[in-house]
Amino acid sequence: MLFLFKYRFLQTVRDLPIMFWALAFPLILATLFYFSFGRAGLSATGESKWEAVKVCVIDHSPAFSSFLQSMDGDALNILPSASEKEALQMLDEGTIAGIYYAGETPSLTVGRNGLNESILTTMLDTYNQNAAILKKIAETHPENLPAAIQSSQDYRQLVYETTLGGETLDPSVQYFFALIAYACLSGAFLGVRASFDSQANLTALGARRSVTPTHKLTLILIDMLVLVTIHFANIMILTIYIGNVLGISLGTDYTSLLLVNFMGSLIGITMGLAFGSLTKLSLNIKMSLTVVITLLPSFLAGLMFANMKNIIEQHVPFINRINPAAVLSDAYYCMGVYQDMDRFVRCIVTLVIMSILFLTAAFLGIRRERYDSI
């Protein structure tokens, strides 16, 4: 039976139009998504490189100056300036966001309103508050001053920005999950083509294969095995391309990723086999309709408009439960973002049930050995 596997494999991977839809098209889409959403997503989440706020310092009271120096290179970028006049000129030109006056009473001059100016103001306010507290402690409880100074230097970040699963916050990732789900469904193109070659009432090839002594179910099972293998490889190529070449984080749970990719490949192929075997249309019409049956569920799952899935969830959640693209992207999201195992398992079980239903329909359609008309 190995030769059957080999020849079906060769025949499929050499079918360039089919492989374009199943492999090249999702890769092209991923690249376009990267340039459209990927970079925007990265900067929106603050993962892009932070630029420290440029500032000049006039006068140099030891306390405030040392406070500012401790921020230099991190939140602040203190530029050297010879005089106040020179610093004001730099402020006018927009080279710096503000000027700190580190005199007896520290003050700040800013050129306009904005994020950087707010940061400078907040830093000055923080210093003034701490200075006032320490001054009061020195007056009332001087014995506690060392502990208070120690405490003011013990800065703790109490709020962390993270996902439930601690994985990724990149908002653009949902587009890439929807894209991988679409790519999985694109296996339908392979399934439709293969089903066409098995039906004696549609093609001479189908007739020739049907009159041989090799059991038809054997042929169908081998076809399916080959197609799932090829499509699983397609999805892995796409996943590696998105994760390693485009640098979009899809999570670190590789076992789950492999499982969802496999289920996605299986559902795409079986969906194509079922659609191909239950309809008596020409190959061109079937292929055109396959574009619809892969893109429409993907659109509903948020491939073109990320909020679509949420809108459906609010109004007709049942659609999201039976839409294979929605279930697949949900499984990817559970794995890569939520780390919600219960929901992940529910998605996988749904995909298994869908695959069994598609496979049963495909078998019922193709296994027929005698036709009413040819």
């Binding site: 030769f3 050499r14 036709y371 040819i374």
Partner: protein
Amino acid sequence: MIHIENLVKRYGSFVALDHLNLQIQEGEIFGLLGPNGSGKTTAICCLLALLKYDKGQITIFGKEMQPDRYDIKKDIGVVMQNVAVFEQMSVWENIDYFCGLYVKDKAKRRELVEEAIRFTDLEEYRKARPKKLSGGLLRRLNIACGIAHKPRLIILDEPTVAVDPQSRNKILEGIQELNRQGSTIIYTSHYMEEVEQICSRIAIIDHGRVLATGTTEELKNMIKTGETITIEAVAADEHLLEKLQTLPHVFDISYEKQVLKIRLSSGRHNLVRILNFLTEQDISFGRVFSELPTLNDVFLEITGKKLRD
């Protein structure tokens, strides 16, 4: 070897096979001759258990044919009317694939594939993809895929449609060679010359019924026409045609564009008698031909229409 009894196949109210009966013996090249739409391909599809039929019985090699009779199927080779090969695989790969559906042993299969390639004269093209082949070569590949496993029974459904004369002759010679090597052949065609050339027995089929069966000679003997005399450049009138009709053995006369066609039943000196008559009537004429009946005459007389109508 093959018995088809009272086979009936209907598509709604249309009767495609109307109580079709056929008996095919081992070692024959059996021709199914009929116009397009006469039921030849439908009969073949029923024979191969691809089509459901309404009534009748089919036995091959003494066993009832069913879709799951793989023991019967392994001894049958089929060459479909439409070319059935994988576009993405080479000539060698296609033959190997289809042969492999019958023969599991790799070494034996390799031998059979090589033999099929030699047999169909495709050695130069073994690595070529079907797209690169001409119509004739493609038909030869189609045949190679169907016969590589050396089946006892080979069914060829119009294998020479849209093939150039040179390739057609090669294909016909090949079929005769397969028969000499021991295969029984069922050959369907609407080209009577081909059927007449290679078939040892013929069934004429129309409207899903077998109208006549026999060897070429037997079929020709079944009809009234023994000879057709064609006379060119003759000026005939109604009176002359009426007189000709009264001559012995003459049973049909047609006259068109100064060409006189006289069909006669078998008899001695028919040509001499006709020419003497024209000389006596002082009628001048041009070239004269005398032809023995063809299958077309047989078909014409049995069905009342020409084969390619």
